[in-house]
Amino acid sequence: MVLFEDLECGVCYLRYSRIDRVPRMLHCNHTFCTPCLETMGLHYSGLCSVRCPLCRQVTCVDRGLSLQGALFVNSQLWENISEEQKDEEEEKKEEKRNEGKRVAFQLPPSSQAECPVPKQNRPKLRLPTFLKRMSFTRNPEERIVPTCNVEMMSWRRISSEGIF
């Protein structure tokens, strides 16, 4: 019915590995990865039984034994896994890339941080106007020397208003 590569578990479609997805054989000699067998295992009063997805034969494991301790590893697949270790490294790199994508998802918060920027623009807009008034006041001082005192007073008033 379902044809799949020998190097992949027929249930989860993931490649076997020597660390997580170890290929183990049920008593009917059909092989699946350890996580899938753990998931398919039924625990009842200390016993663990797994029904083979391929032939429906039930494999029972005695008490005190886990699936990993009770089931044989498929040695042929195990020997072929060494070539696939590179694929595992590639998968890890993909995971890192996914983490990079997560960083990308953090950009929205940074965009929120940019919101205060418009607020900062507002006070800056006022400063140029104030500076223009300052420069405008100084020019008449230089031109009209006799009324210097009067100009000074007006300058002080403008500056005080600006401060408030």
Binding site: M40, G41, H43, P53
Partner: protein
């Protein structure tokens, strides 16, 4: 590694088998398998069946089945919905007819009585095998436990069945 996680599908399975079921499949692995199934289904040249995820939800698909040649359903097309639980493929997806189907093993709401979708489910089944099995069920019903008694009684008279089928068919 396994942890106890009860969900409706697992609970029903536990009730049937009188034991607990551990479901540790993560949505990441489920998505990967579904994506791979979609690729396989689109690349294979299966005639009479098709399926594709609904809008952006990878866990809900819409499938179509054409009646097989040589059966009373020949020339008719049926639409189905497939909802994949988080425990897929260790738990069976929920499949039902969207198009009304006059069949001994299909009730008026589109619920399908098929053993591989219930207690005979296997983690090796996929969308393709499910659709092919339902297509096969159309031509070879199980009249011993009908959900539509009218259809079951009428099945022996194929001519009358076909006439009634085409009269009531709405796509």
């Amino acid at each position: 590694m396994a942890s106890q996680n009860m969900d409706p599908a697992a609970a029903s399975t536990a009730t049937l088998k009188g034991s607990e079921t551990s479901v540790t499949a993560s949505k990441g692995s489920v998505s990967k398998r579904l994506q791979q199934e979609l690729m396989t289904l689109m690349m294979s040249g299966d005639k009479g069946i098709s399926a594709f995820p609904e809008s952006d939800n990878l866990f809900k698909w819409i499938g179509t089945i054409d009646g097989a040649q040589g059966t009373v359903y020949e020339g008719l097309r049926y639409k189905l919905s497939l909802e994949f639980p988080s425990g897929y493929p260790y738990n069976a997806p929920r499949v039902k007819f969207i198009t009304a189907c006059f069949h001994p093993n299909v009730d008026e709401n589109g619920i399908i009585c098929l053993d591989i979708l219930k207690d005979k489910w296997s983690a090796l089944y996929d969308v393709r095998s499910i659709l092919l099995s339902i297509q096969s069920l159309l031509g070879e019903p199980n009249n011993d436990s009908p959900m539509n008694s009218t259809a079951a009684e009428m099945w022996d008279d194929q001519e009358a069945f076909k006439a009634h089928l085409h009269a009531t068919y709405k796509n």
